[in-house]
Symmetry: C2
Subunit: 126 residues, 2 copies
């Protein structure tokens, strides 16, 4: 699979895909005889994983570290698990923040609706 096909499939620019590979976020993608990337299943798997994690705000450093551990084989399973658990914790924390903000946004939107409906606004919430 060429880089532009992968780019379409996962909605990442070719620049981003090359960038991810350059910084070691994705292991080196196989090339054909003229040096052009030919993504195999393994590479696609990495791309998909990284896209998913990045879109959830997981930092690039953590993902590089995960890949690094993965390359080192079974000896690092406990370490990898610890990394994942920590990322899960941070993710949950962010989601809780977002839940709070969502509720707040909802209240604010409601308040604006009331104002638009002609009702008098109470002071307090702005």
């Amino acid at each position: 699979m060429t880089i532009s096909e992968v780019s379409k499939k996962y909605a990442l620019t070719t620049d981003t895909l090359r960038y991810y590979e350059r910084i070691g976020l994705i292991p080196r993608v196989p090339r054909n005889s003229s040096g052009i990337r030919d993504y195999d299943e393994a590479s696609l798997g990495w791309v998909e994983l990284i896209k998913c994690m990045r879109s959830a705000g997981v930092g690039i450093e953590a993902l590089i570290e995960y890949g690094r551990l993965f390359q080192q084989g079974e000896a690092t399973i406990a370490e990898r698990k610890a990394l994942l658990v920590e990322q899960r914790r941070q993710l949950l924390e962010r989601m809780e923040d977002m839940q709070r903000s969502l509720e707040r946004l909802d209240r604010k939107i409601e308040w604006h609706e009331e104002l638009l409906g002609g009702k008098a606004a109470e002071p307090g919430d702005c």
Copy 2:
């Protein structure tokens, strides 16, 4: 309330508080006779709102725009509401991404646990 007290109260550095004011994210905070910030209720309200929204990933531009509209009074209520609704939409989108990633992380963690428990791993999930 001094800037360092506000800084402690909301866990934002004094640099960040000054920065927010500089870029117009927070309206100008009142100063005492020697030019030192003395945060009033209104300022604190803005700080709290901004902290909440920023921690949920709402961009600074949108928040500045909201403040700008707010300063312009009642005429902008509909516009403000539209802005909030759009931010809510984006927030929900991000939360859905994160939910997916959370589930994926959970599966990955489970898989690592099984490996640690000595069970044979099925190929597929990495």
